[in-house]
C-alpha cells in the first residue's frame, strides 16, 4: 500500500498507508468514538465534507453489509484509522471496505496514531481542516489552507425530488436534510407509508399530502445556513400535525421556536454519554453526532420544554412544544449504529399520531 499523509491545518503531518481511493481530499477533521459500526458511520450523510478519525482501532473487520447502509452514496471525505482489514467473505459481506471506498472515491489512511489525534482534537477550539495527500509538502499545506469548505451541505446530499416508501400504515412525511436510512427502517418497521420530501418543501407541500405526522430528518452542516423558509414551514406544520425531529431537524425545530444555537468547540460523535430523560428521570444511551447545540438559556419556556439532557456536557438533547404534539431529539433515535433504547421515540411518535387521529 502506498505511503500517504494526513495533514492538518495546524501544520502537522502524519504518515500512514493509503487504502480505499487514491484521491486527495480535504475536509473538516472530526473523531468518532463509537465502538462498532464503521459502515453506518462512513455512509451517514452527516459526515458530508468531513474526514472521520475512528477511535475503534480495527476497521473493516466485517466488510460491507447490505443492511448497514445509512445512505447508498457516502459523501464523507476520508477515513483515518489505526488498522484496516480487507475482508469481504464474512457472512453477509459482499464487498470489502477498501473496494467500497474505491468505488465511492473516498480515501482512507491507516497506521495513524488515532488516539493521539483524538486527544489532540479535544483540546481544539473550533473546527480543524485536514487533507489526505500523497506528499506532505508546503504546496499541500497551501492547498489545504486555501480550501474553503462549502456551507451548502444539505443541498448537496438531500433529495431534490420527492419519493415514496409505501406501506400500509400511518402516512408520514419525512423532510430530508441528509436522511439516514435508520430513520426509514424504523418507520418501515412500524408500517408507515412514507413520503420523503426535499427540505425546501413548504408547509403547503407537506399538508397537501394529509399526513398523520411529519418527521424532520438528520443532516449535515449548520442549521443556520438553511434560511427562514424551512423555519416557517416547521412553525406552520407543527401546529397542525404531530412532528418529530432528529439531529439537524431538532436544531431547526429549536430555531423555529425561538431558541438559539451555539457551535461546540469540538464536535462530539459517540454513544457513551448518559442522557437523562427528564420526565421519567431515567438514563439512556444513544449515538450522538453534533457540532451545534441548543443554548439552554435561550429556550423560551412558554414555548418549549427541555426533555432530554446530556449528563456529561450538559447539552440539551431533547425538546417538546408546549402547545402541540411536536418534539425533537438531538441524538440519533434510530440507533444505527449504536444503542437501541432511544428507538422508543418512534413509538412515541406513532402513539402521538394515533392520539391525534382518535382525539
Amino acid at each position: 500500500m502506498a505511503k500517504r499523509y494526513l495533514i492538518l491545518e495546524d501544520g502537522s503531518a502524519y504518515a500512514g498507508e493509503g487504502f480505499g481511493a487514491g484521491a486527495t481530499t480535504s475536509g473538516e477533521v472530526i473523531s468518532n468514538l463509537n465502538l462498532l459500526g464503521y459502515q453506518e458511520t462512513i455512509t451517514d450523510q452527516i459526515y458530508h465534507n468531513q474526514i472521520i478519525i475512528f477511535a475503534q482501532p480495527a476497521i473493516g473487520n466485517v466488510g460491507i453489509n447490505h443492511d448497514s447502509y445509512e445512505s447508498i452514496l457516502p459523501t464523507a471525505k476520508g477515513m483515518v484509522v489505526r488498522d484496516v482489514t480487507n475482508i469481504s467473505t464474512n457472512r453477509l459481506s459482499r464487498l470489502s471496505l477498501d473496494e467500497f471506498l474505491q468505488q465511492h472515491n473516498i480515501p482512507g489512511i491507516s497506521g495513524i496514531d488515532t488516539r493521539h489525534l483524538i486527544r489532540k482534537l479535544r483540546q481544539e477550539d473550533g473546527p480543524m481542516k485536514g487533507s489526505i495527500v500523497d506528499v506532505a509538502d508546503a504546496h499541500a499545506f497551501d492547498q489545504l489552507n486555501a480550501t474553503v469548505l462549502t456551507n451548502r451541505q444539505v443541498d448537496q446530499v438531500a433529495t431534490p425530488k420527492p419519493y415514496p416508501n409505501p406501506d400500509t400504515g400511518k402516512n408520514v412525511v419525512v423532510i430530508d436534510f441528509g436522511l439516514k436510512h435508520g430513520i426509514l427502517r424504523q418507520l418501515s418497521e412500524r408500517r408507515c407509508n412514507v413520503t420523503v420530501l426535499p427540505w425546501t418543501a413548504s408547509a403547503q407541500d407537506v399538508l397537501n399530502l394529509d399526513p398523520d405526522g411529519v418527521l424532520l430528518s438528520t443532516g449535515p452542516g449548520s442549521p443556520l445556513d438553511l434560511g427562514e423558509g424551512v423555519l416557517d414551514m416547521i412553525r406552520e406544520v407543527q401546529a397542525e400535525i404531530p412532528l418529530f425531529a432528529i439531529g439537524l431537524g431538532h436544531e431547526l425545530f429549536a430555531l423555529a421556536n425561538g431558541a438559539e444555537l451555539t457551535m461546540l468547540p469540538v464536535e462530539y460523535h459517540g454513544s457513551s454519554h448518559p442522557i437523562r430523560r427528564i420526565i421519567t428521570n431515567d438514563i439512556i444511551y444513544a449515538t450522538q453526532g453534533q457540532g451545534y447545540a441548543v443554548i439552554a438559556k435561550s429556550i423560551d419556556r412558554d414555548r418549549l420544554i427541555t426533555t432530554y439532557v446530556d449528563l456529561i456536557n450538559g447539552t440539551v438533547q431533547g425538546l417538546r412544544h408546549r402547545d402541540f404534539p411536536a418534539f425533537s431529539v438531538q441524538f440519533f433515535a434510530d440507533g444505527a449504529p449504536g444503542p437501541h433504547e432511544s428507538r422508543d421515540l418512534f413509538d412515541e411518535f406513532m402513539e402521538a399520531m394515533t392520539a391525534r387521529r382518535e382525539g
Partner: protein, 857 residues
C-alpha cells in the same frame, strides 16, 4: 432494595481455594469491595479458608472467619454475628449455591439477613435452568429449550425431538461447567450417569447443541434505579463447543456488526432488569453467524474471569462501583477516586485498543489428563495481550502464554498433515500454534474457517503476522522491517532469533533508529477525556502517554499467567510485597499479563504495565521509568541473569524456590527461621505431611503447626536448625528440613536447608500473625529494623493448631484422584483449631485430611 442507612454489617462468602474456573480474581474483587464498604462505613465479615487470600489481610481478625466455606459454617456465623446482609457474588458458584441453600432452608428469612446483588427469586433461578428459561421466555429472550430428566428412559424418549448432537448438563451441579456434548445414545447415557451424580437433585437437562455458534459474553452493571451500563463485550475466538475458559478471547468483539452487538446489549439489559440484578452481570450468548439469531447460554450475576477481564481491559472500576451499588447507591451518585474523570461511572466504556486473552493449561504437570479442549474447562490460568491492532494484541498474548525464557514461540512443524488436521478439528492446548502452522503450510483462511468454525477474520489476521514474519526473514537487520515487526507485536527475542543475533543487537538497532515504544493508557473513554488511570500497554506509535513516576520507584515483575504449582501463593506474595514497598515510600509499578492477578488491581500499585514479561519489554519499561529497584520473580532465571548484567538494583522476589542444596528425598519436619544478619528468628516447627503412600519431598503438600512433638523436642530442633543455618551463608526466610535418621529410628536429623516455599510462607504468616512477606521485602529494601525484629516472639508451642492442605485439579481434569505433588497444586485450604480437632490419625488418609479441613465449626 437496601439503602445505605440500614446496612452496617455484611458477610462476604469467600471463594475458597483457587481451582480450575477461578483464580485470584475473586480475591482481588473482594479486596476492592471491602475497601468500598469501608468507605461507606460498613463492617465487612469474610468467611474463607484460602491461605493465600489477600482479602483476609485487609480486615480485622475479629471480622475474619477462617473456616471451610460451607452452608453450615455460614449459617453459624449468621447466627453468631448477625450480619445485616450476605454477599454471595464474590464466591463464584459456591457462594451462589450456599446462598441458595440459606434461602431454601429459611435461614436468611429467620435471621432477617438480606441478600445483596439480586433478589432471592433470581438466586433460585440461577441454579434452576427450567425456571430461568421460563422467565427468559416470558421476556422474549431466546433460550435453548432444556428438558429436565431424572432417568435414562426419560432421556431416551426425548432424543428424537431434540436430535443429536445434544448437550447433557447436571441440574444445580456441585461444580462449575460439566456440559457434555453427545453425538449418540451411548455418549448420552454415559454423560447422564455421571451428571446425575453431580447434580444436587439427581437430574440433568437435555438441550439442543449450538456447537459452532459464536460465543459472545457481555458484562454489565445495574443499579437499583434500573440504570444499566454495558462495560464490555467479549468474543470467544473458538466457537461453542469449547468452554469459554479454554478459548482465546478478544475484546471488544471484532467480528460482530453493530446490530448484532447492540441486540446482545439489549438482551443483556432486559435480563438484568427482569432478574433485578444489583451490581454486576455476566452473560454468555450463542450467536448463529448464518442468520444472526442468538440464544442466552449462561447467566452469571457474580464475579468471574470475564468480569475481571472487562475491568482490566476497559479501566472501568467494576469492583469499586459494585461495592457502592450493592449498598443501594445509584450509578449517577457514585463518587470515584480523583484519578477518574467525574462521570466515568455513568459513561458506557468505549475503548481504542484490543485485548486478547489466551488460556494456559496444566497438561505438563498433569500429563494423564485428556488434553482435548471441549465443553469442560481445563485451563488454570491465562495471559492477556493489549495492543492497537488484533495482530499486536494476539502476538503479545501468545508470547506471554508460552513461557519461553527467550521470548521465542515454539514450533509445531513436526506434526504430520493428518495430525494437524485432526488437531484443527479436535483442538489441544497448542491450539493457537496449530492454527498458525496450518496457515504456514498454505491452508487458506476460508478452508480453516470451515474446519474450525473460527471466524475467517482471525485467520486473515494470523496470516498477516506470517507475512510480516516472512518480511523479517527476508530483510535481516533492516531498520524499516524492525519498525514494522515491533509495530505488530513481535518481541525482541523473536526478531533476534529470526535474524540469528541477540537481543542486545536488536535493542541497539532500535535505539539508533529511534524505534521506541509509546505507552498508551488503558481508560474507558477512548481519549475523549483526560483520565489519569494507572494501566498502560506499549505500542509503537506517535505519542507516549506514560511519564516516569519520579524518584524512589520500584518496578515489580509479575509471574504472568497462573500455572499449577505455588502460583496463588506467589500472587499473595507479590501483592503483599507491593503493599510493603508502598508503605516504605516507593512509587510502585507492576508489570504483569495475568488479568486475574490480585496485584493488577489499581489499588495496589501506582502504575501497571500490561506487557509481556520478556527481556525486551522489561527493558523498555525500565527505560521509561528508571526504577530504583527492579524486582524479578524467582522462577525467571534467564530474565534474572540478563537483567543482572545491567547496572540496576535487582532483587529476586518471591525468592527462587530452586536454589540451595540438592533437595533431600524426604522430610517429616520443617523448621522455619527468619535469618537477618546475626538474628535467627524461629518462625515455626511444622509437620511436613505427604498424604498417601509416597513420602518423597515433592509429595509434601500438607502442613501442621506446631508439629506434633514434645515441647522439648521442638526447642531442640530449633537449636539444630539454627546451627545448620549458621553453617551456611543464607538470609531471609529459610526452612531447615528434618527426617528420621533411618527407617527404624525416631531420631530426627537435618537433611536439608532451603528457602521457605511460598505456600508455606503464606501459611506461616497466617499462623503467626506476622507478615513474613513484608519482612522479607523490608530485608531486601533495607528497611528492616533489627530492634523491631528482636521483639518478635513466636510461640512455637501454641495450643492453637493450624493445618494447611493443598488442593489439586484432578477431579476437574477427570483423572484419577490421588495425592499430588507440589508442582500440581492449584490452591490450598487452611484450618485452625485445637490440637484434638486437628489430629490426624492416619497421615496417608487424604479423605480424613479433607474432612478435618472442611469440618463444620
Amino acid at each position: 432494595m437496601p439503602n445505605l442507612d440500614n446496612i452496617q454489617k455484611v458477610l462476604i462468602i469467600g471463594g475458597g481455594p483457587t481451582e480450575i474456573g477461578h483464580e485470584t480474581e475473586l480475591d482481588s474483587a473482594t479486596v476492592q469491595i471491602i475497601t468500598s464498604f469501608k468507605k461507606h462505613g460498613v463492617r465487612t465479615l469474610v468467611i474463607d479458608n484460602n491461605p493465600f487470600s489477600v482479602a483476609l489481610e485487609e480486615i480485622q481478625p475479629t471480622n475474619m472467619y477462617v473456616q471451610a466455606v460451607t452452608t453450615a459454617n455460614v449459617r453459624h456465623i449468621i447466627e453468631k454475628d448477625q450480619p445485616d446482609a450476605i454477599l454471595p457474588t464474590l464466591g463464584g458458584l459456591l457462594g451462589i449455591r450456599i446462598a441458595q441453600e440459606l434461602v431454601e432452608n429459611g435461614d436468611l428469612a429467620n435471621f432477617n439477613v438480606r441478600l445483596l446483588g439480586m433478589p432471592t427469586t433470581t438466586l433460585q433461578q440461577i441454579n434452576n435452568p427450567a425456571d430461568l428459561n421460563a422467565t427468559l421466555k416470558e421476556i422474549h429472550e431466546p433460550v435453548i429449550e432444556a428438558q429436565v430428566v431424572g432417568t435414562l428412559d426419560e432421556a431416551r424418549g426425548l432424543v428424537e425431538k431434540i436430535g443429536f448432537p445434544l448437550i447433557v448438563k447436571p441440574v444445580a451441579p456441585r461444580l462449575d461447567t460439566n456440559r457434555t456434548v453427545c453425538d449418540n445414545v451411548d455418549d448420552m447415557f454415559n454423560a447422564l450417569t455421571q451428571g446425575f451424580q453431580q447434580s444436587r437433585f439427581d437430574q440433568c437437562t437435555l438441550e439442543r447443541s449450538v456447537i459452532g455458534y459464536k460465543e459472545i459474553e457481555m458484562v454489565a452493571v445495574r443499579d437499583v434505579a434500573d440504570t444499566e451500563v454495558l462495560v464490555a463485550g467479549l468474543e470467544n475466538v473458538d466457537t461453542i463447543g469449547i468452554h469459554s475458559g479454554d478459548s482465546i478471547l478478544v475484546t471488544p468483539p471484532q467480528t460482530l456488526n453493530d446490530r448484532e452487538y447492540q441486540d446482545l446489549r439489549d438482551a443483556t439489559f432486559r435480563i438484568a432488569t427482569e432478574l433485578g440484578i444489583v451490581g454486576v452481570l455476566h452473560l454468555h450468548f450463542a450467536l448463529n453467524p448464518a442468520n444472526q439469531h442468538f440464544y442466552v447460554t449462561k447467566i452469571a450475576p457474580y464475579f468471574s474471569r470475564g468480569v475481571a477481564l472487562a475491568a482490566r481491559t476497559t479501566g472501568y472500576p467494576i469492583a469499586l462501583v459494585n461495592g457502592a451499588l450493592l449498598l443501594g447507591q445509584k450509578l449517577v451518585d457514585i463518587k470515584l477516586p480523583s484519578q477518574y474523570v467525574k462521570q466515568t461511572v455513568i459513561m458506557e466504556p468505549t475503548i481504542d485498543h484490543v485485548s486478547v486473552r489466551i488460556p494456559i493449561w496444566p497438561f505438563q504437570e498433569v500429563p494423564d489428563a485428556d488434553q482435548h479442549l471441549n465443553t469442560v474447562m481445563k485451563a488454570v490460568g491465562s495471559t492477556v495481550g493489549v495492543g492497537r491492532s488484533v495482530e499486536e494484541a494476539m502476538l503479545k498474548a501468545v508470547r506471554s502464554s508460552q513461557f519461553s525464557p527467550r521470548d521465542v514461540l515454539p514450533s509445531v512443524s513436526n506434526l504430520t498433515d493428518g495430525e494437524m488436521i485432526r488437531q484443527l478439528i479436535h483442538p489441544l492446548a497448542n491450539r493457537i500454534l496449530v492454527l498458525i502452522e496450518a496457515l504456514r503450510r498454505g491452508y487458506a483462511p476460508e478452508e480453516l474457517s470451515e474446519l474450525t468454525k473460527i471466524d475467517n477474520y482471525y485467520f486473515v489476521k494470523l496470516r498477516h503476522l506470517l507475512t510480516i514474519e516472512k518480511e523479517i526473514q527476508d530483510n535481516p537487520l533492516d531498520v524499516a522491517t524492525l519498525q514494522r515487526a515491533r509495530y505488530y507485536g513481535f518481541g525482541d527475542g523473536m526478531i533476534a532469533r529470526i535474524w540469528q543475533t541477540d537481543t542486545a543487537t536488536i535493542r541497539h538497532l532500535s535505539a539508533q533508529a529511534k524505534i521506541t515504544p509509546t505507552y498508551k493508557m488503558i481508560e474507558p473513554t477512548a481519549g475523549e477525556f483526560p483520565e489519569n488511570l494507572s494501566g498502560y500497554y506499549s505500542t509503537f506509535e506517535y505519542e507516549n502517554e506514560s511519564q516516569p513516576l519520579g524518584d524512589r520507584t520500584a518496578l515489580v515483575l509479575g509471574r504472568g499467567g497462573n500455572q499449577l504449582g505455588p502460583n496463588s501463593a506467589a500472587e499473595y506474595f507479590t501483592t503483599e510485597m507491593l503493599k510493603q514497598l508502598k508503605r516504605a515510600g516507593y512509587h510502585t509499578i507492576l508489570m504483569n499479563t495475568n488479568p486475574n492477578a490480585v496485584g493488577v488491581a489499581p489499588e495496589f500499585t501506582e502504575k501497571q504495565y500490561v506487557d509481556p514479561i520478556q527481556l525486551g519489554d522489561v527493558l523498555n519499561v525500565i527505560q521509561v521509568e528508571h526504577p530504583d529497584i527492579v524486582i524479578v520473580p524467582g522462577n525467571r532465571h534467564y530474565l534474572t541473569r540478563e537483567l543482572g548484567k545491567l547496572p540496576i538494583n535487582l532483587h529476586v522476589l518471591p525468592p527462587d524456590q530452586e536454589t540451595g542444596e540438592p533437595a533431600p528425598e524426604m522430610a517429616t519436619i520443617g523448621v522455619s527461621l527468619f535469618v537477618h544478619k546475626q538474628q535467627k528468628i524461629a518462625v515455626g516447627v511444622m509437620d511436613m505431611i505427604a498424604p498417601g503412600i509416597n513420602k518423597s519431598l515433592a509429595q509434601v503438600t500438607a502442613f501442621r503447626m506446631p508439629a506434633e512433638l514434645p515441647k522439648a523436642k521442638r526447642v531442640n530442633l530449633v537449636e539444630q536448625a539454627k546451627e545448620a543455618v549458621s553453617a551456611r551463608q543464607v538470609t531471609g526466610m529459610i526452612q531447615v528440613l528434618f527426617a528420621p535418621k533411618s527407617d527404624d529410628s525416631q531420631q530426627l536429623v537435618v537433611v536439608g536447608v532451603r528457602p521457605t516455599r511460598l505456600t508455606e510462607m503464606a501459611f506461616l504468616s497466617k499462623v503467626t500473625g506476622v507478615n513474613w512477606v513484608r519482612m522479607l521485602t523490608r530485608q531486601h529494601i533495607g528497611t528492616l529494623d533489627e530492634g523491631e525484629l528482636a521483639k518478635i516472639s513466636i510461640d512455637l508451642n501454641s495450643t492453637r493448631v493450624a493445618l494447611m492442605n493443598a488442593a489439586f485439579p484432578f477431579r476437574q481434569l477427570h483423572v484419577l484422584n490421588r495425592p499430588g505433588t507440589t508442582d500440581q497444586e492449584v490452591g490450598a485450604t487452611i484450618a485452625f483449631g485445637s490440637s484434638e480437632a486437628l489430629t490426624l490419625t492416619n497421615l496417608s488418609d487424604t479423605s480424613e485430611l479433607d474432612q478435618i479441613i472442611n469440618r463444620t465449626i
